[in-house]
């Protein structure tokens, strides 16, 4: 093994930094797209849940079916297009999914049991779901 001199060592460190940045730069976007899509879908679903409650509750299957169809499309696209995950992705993803799931359950239960038919709660739920998923996507983009 040839020992690098200080200049060569610095060049190697710069090269390692460049390669790391290049590997990171293309990573994460499929997950960011899924999080933003999930935010849009679930926020729109809470609004649809409110409107269905005012029109005809039997139609609740319709926004639910559309939401799950698009969720399936988003997940398939993420799996197909995912080429790399940034270091530490697993922990960030688990956190983002747990926070979204908690917000989702709270929104659905709140909109159908505790504050049923309340417009302010539908708006608040949509904002909450938008905020938590945008936060997750932002955190992944900045990591």
């Amino acid at each position: 093994m040839t020992t690098p001199n200080p200049d060569e060592a610095r060049a190697l460190l710069e090269q390692a930094g460049r390669l790391g940045s290049a590997a990171r730069s293309g990573a994460g976007w499929p997950h960011i797209a899924l999080l933003l899509g999930l935010g849009g879908l679930s926020a729109m679903f809470t609004v649809a849940l409110y409107l269905v409650g005012r029109l005809d509750e039997r139609l609740v299957w319709l926004p639910m079916a559309v939401m799950f169809l698009w969720l399936a499309i988003l997940i398939v696209m993420m799996v197909v297009s995912n080429r790399a995950t940034k270091a530490g992705f697993g922990g960030r993803w688990r956190t983002a999914m747990l926070v979204w799931a908690a917000a989702w359950v709270f929104s659905v239960v709140g909109g159908t049991v505790w504050w049923r038919g309340e417009l302010w709660f539908a708006i608040a739920s949509a904002l909450l779901l938008t905020a938590v998923t945008t936060w997750g996507a932002w955190r992944e983009a900045r990591s």
């Binding site: 020992t3 690098p4 200080p6 190697l12 460190l13 090269q15 930094g17 390669l19 790391g20 995950t85």
Partner: protein
């Protein structure tokens, strides 16, 4: 400074090879990356990357996972926890040499 204390003794022989060094540098920034993507980043051929990745796998530095996306085969590369530790130690030795 005595010869035994010089940071060059902390360099990892496995990681001094240019392609292996570049491969591990790319892997260190990710949890996992697919073969084709890292090949394009490193601008090497499939056979060169495959050979060096296998050598690193034998050394316990890299984990290679083969799978499918639909019907298409895809190979994923990742650093093992021990490989990450070795890489950090190698970088620390380079920093020490650069600062010497």
């Amino acid at each position: 400074m005595s010869a035994a204390e010089h940071p060059r003794h902390q360099l990892n022989d496995t990681l001094t090879h240019p392609v292996r060094f570049s491969l591990v540098a790319a892997l260190a920034a990710t949890d996992e990356i697919d073969f084709a993507t890292v090949r394009d980043h490193l601008q090497v051929s499939d056979s060169v990357l495959s050979r060096q990745a296998s050598a690193l796998e034998e050394a316990g530095v890299v984990r290679i996972r083969k799978g499918y996306v639909g019907k298409r085969p895809r190979t994923w590369l990742a650093l093992t926890p021990d490989g990450r530790t070795q890489w950090e130690a190698h970088l620390a030795a380079l920093r020490a040499i650069a600062g010497a």
